[in-house]
Symmetry: C2
Subunit: 320 residues, 2 copies
């Protein structure tokens, strides 16, 4: 059983209530408490030693990543984070200085986005250290971006370069795209948005599933990071890196932990967007990588090929 199947089983029939606008299945839960101009966003996530970071990672970077993952999900709704709680599980004995440095990493990021860290819990944890974060935020009622709004004819866009994040260490240093997402939600008719945590193909498939549509990606338009090119060899769709290897394109499609934004919008707005985007956000790129189509499935088009990507988001090129 993979993670998605497990989540489907666990979330079947969970209790909801009247103030729940969006429960499971988007980047954050969306809650309506009435009386406010905004909805409240609610998100949790965890990092575990040996899974999300290793013993050579700087503790500040571990804290940065733990909070950053949640903030990236708040960004994906077009929202802004306000408060965080931190639960930390520690093998006993633990290194107090190491734990304090983890907190310093979280504090620095929290301060940067005016997020208050308002409490938490400490517990013993035999075996692995874990850091579980819960974050609240707000989003204006008329600007909340869901996964479910993609429409046939929409252009699909991504920020930044993709792939190789775990190899290059970028997964420990990324910045959540909060300002970028808020700007997009304010100035453009964004139909759907998600942050890229599990890899472009897998995350895009979540958008397609939620929206009941399909998509075509243009292989030559996928922005492949330098780390993915270095780790993955050639950039062509057909070049293999041995039995366990991935091509650079496969890395960009499936590596995960990019924490960039993927969004869809009317194709007619793309030129205005790329024009007005330029020069903002520290030179971060944005680009169109494909389009939403009727039907279902995720297809990759290139010169002389048109391949379907499988359900896991993982690319099996042997089926061409």
């Amino acid at each position: 059983m993979n993670e998605l199947e497990l989540i489907e089983r666990l979330t079947a029939g969970l209790p909801r209530n009247a103030s729940t606008r969006v429960g499971c299945g988007d980047d954050c839960a969306v809650l309506d408490f009435g009386g406010m101009d905004s909805w409240i966003l609610f998100k949790t996530d965890a990092v575990v030693s040996g899974v999300h970071f290793d013993s050579v990672a700087a503790p500040e970077a571990v804290g940065h990543k733990a909070l950053g993952r949640c903030l990236s999900d708040i960004a994906a709704m077009g929202g802004w984070p306000t408060h965080a709680l931190v639960t930390i599980g520690l093998p006993v004995p633990f290194d107090v200085e190491w734990v304090q440095r983890v907190y310093r990493g979280m504090q620095a990021m929290a301060a940067e986005y005016d997020v208050a860290i308002v409490g938490g819990e400490t517990t013993a944890s035999p075996g692995a250290m874990f850091l579980s974060l819960a974050v609240m935020g707000t989003v204006p009622r008329d600007r909340c971006l869901l996964r479910s709004g993609a429409r046939p004819g929409d252009a699909i866009l991504v920020t930044g370069d993709l792939g190789g994040s775990l190899v290059s260490g970028r997964h420990l240093t990324f910045q959540p795209r909060l300002a970028e997402a808020r700007w997009l939600a304010t100035h453009f008719e964004v139909h759907a948005m998600i942050d890229l945590s599990d890899g472009l193909a897998g995350d895009l498939r979540q958008v397609l599933k939620a929206s009941g549509v399909g998509a075509e990606l243009l292989a030559s338009a996928i922005p492949i990071s330098a780390a993915a090119r270095k780790a993955g060899g050639g950039v062509g769709g057909g070049e293999r890196m041995g039995a366990q290897g991935k091509t650079a394109l496969e890395r960009a499609l499936t590596d995960g932990e990019d924490f960039e934004l993927l969004f869809t919008m009317p194709a007619s707005d793309v030129v205005r967007l790329t024009d007005t985007w330029r020069g903002q956000f520290g030179g971060l790129k944005v680009g169109c990588i494909g389009r939403i189509i009727e039907g279902c499935g995720l297809h990759l088009r290139g010169v002389g090929f048109n391949r379907s990507l499988d359900l896991d988001g993982y690319v099996h090129f042997q089926g061409t």
Copy 2:
């Protein structure tokens, strides 16, 4: 370094913001988003295998306990829970049926209190299984009960019987005192409240510290549970149970995981409270166990003795 010292170090200098009414240091964070008649409560907690439950615990009870701990903290503010998120860390491979039963335990409790479970996260966790919950709730602005409101002359009251929760298994089956706390906040001038998770003496000390006051407990008034009597032997303050043992009274004072309410209110209201309480809440007891005094420190009075309890809340009777 004990847990309290660690928490003090970690929470020093954490970032706050304008919407934070109460950050670290109470049962929940209290947030003011404006526009609402209520404040929002925000709480996180975790249970870890081998720490908070063992392999013989029913999985439904593990889920019940994980959510119940957070709901007990919401109760301690006089609030009501609304939404929860669940992060689960699982050693690989795991037993899907076991995990589904944990969820069923959480779902049953959530449904009972109209709490929506609105998402979460699953992750691998080498070594120990953990379940980290984040809960939101609301509390009317004028009825939020903090630890910091105790005043000299207040009576100190507790619900239920104390001690022996880990021995009897009650720590896996307790009900959070949500209805009781809301009723108290609605009908009485409660000055301070906390839920008993770390033991009466230790938790009362948190109230004293937050309020800048001291307290006297009356040994004969402490409600000792049957489990504490059985596990702890005699009920007298001076009877010992061997080098590692505790008396029944010591158990009631220090065992932890009772998840009852401790609160303070004007002494003049105690008779009216016990009168109107009677016959409600399924026969749950409430009783006065002492009083708040000027100064600091926690004192235990009995026939022929008046002892100070030490800083950890643990009772050292040898110092009489």
